[in-house]
Symmetry: C2
Subunit: 205 residues, 2 copies
């Protein structure tokens, strides 16, 4: 008598089908193509059906944003194997930017758009994905402290500062605020600024 189980399974399948259609549209055509109506078209259901499985568009975007975090943590994995914690730290920064560069829409969803956060807030829930990604950073910084590479003793504060810096650089680029620098110099300038930050914390943090 597994009827309720089957129903539950079917429900999950439908949620997944919707999410996958959303992801496909999103990755193929960017944010503007992810309308409830477009998703409905893609899965050949009516727009109203989406609302039987997701409360609203924000909740759907939050689910997409979770997928983004899985992708990002994947991208971080091999960097975490690096022996030296400082090398690891620098590599994490590099990959944060690279991830944003390769997946601008996902990054948007993960760190810039307010919509997915609003979905969280109205569920009175906690941003688990963000927290666990941040903890990756904290662990790494803590190792730097333990090895005596940093004078600072507060790994969390140091991590926030490092995240801010790398994020700022990334967000300004992504939102076209670095286009005031000529295209030729831009890449070099950004690389220099990134290196300068690394050197500065290497010797001064």
């Amino acid at each position: 008598m597994g009827i309720v189980e089957r129903k539950e399974r079917e429900r999950e399948e439908m949620r997944k089908r919707i999410l996958e259609a959303a992801q496909k549209l999103f990755l193929e055509n960017g944010y503007e193509k992810v309308s409830i109506r477009n998703i409905a078209d893609a899965i050949e259901y009516s727009p109203a059906t989406i609302y039987l499985y997701y409360k609203d568009k924000n909740e759907l975007l939050y689910a997409l944003h979770q997928i983004g975090f899985h992708k990002m943590i994947d991208a971080f994995q091999s960097a975490l194997q690096l022996e030296d914690p400082f090398d690891r730290l620098v590599e994490l920064g590099r990959r944060y930017f690279q991830f944003a560069f390769d997946n601008p829409e996902l990054f948007d969803l993960m760190f810039i758009m307010t919509a997915p956060m609003d979905a969280l807030a109205c569920k009175n829930d906690i941003w688990d994905e963000g927290k666990s990604a941040f903890n990756l950073l904290v662990t790494c910084v803590q190792e730097c402290i333990d090895k005596g590479l940093f004078k600072t003793q507060d790994a969390e504060v140091a991590s926030l500062m490092i995240w801010s810096s790398v994020h700022g650089y990334t967000a300004l680029f992504l939102r076209k605020r670095l286009e005031m620098f000529e295209e030729n110099r831009r890449k070099e300038l950004m690389e220099s600024a990134f290196n300068l930050f690394n050197e500065t914390i290497r010797h001064g943090l």
Copy 2:
């Protein structure tokens, strides 16, 4: 026979009237209230009329964004009077964040939304406001270098790094990505991270 002059004047007045209505709506009710139709209502003209004075909504947003820069540069003014260039630098950072905190919608327009930048791009124009605000920072950093406070010799690269850091911290806050820290600790944590950054560049840059 100043008819064409009068017409030109009337045209500028209308552009100004539209922009002021947009600004008013924007500051009073946030971004979502700035629709072409809302602006048209406010100035008691039809929506189509707006398009006789601004190419599209992006162009209007770009004009608003320029107003934002004037406000921000105003907010910077008194900090620029500070004697010590490093104190000045720190104060500029503080005010960047404070400006964002006090004018979140404007800050959005100035540094986060892509729309106004798209308006610029399709006119093949340069982001003058951004450049001149950035130059304020470069000048300050250059003074720090000249006074021997920083070892680095490239003021532009150092400025980009500093801007990135302060911007990142600001953008993460504004976009609710720091709400994973409990509300009580958050403010303190951010202040600590900001101070840590300042100390680090003070001794290590």
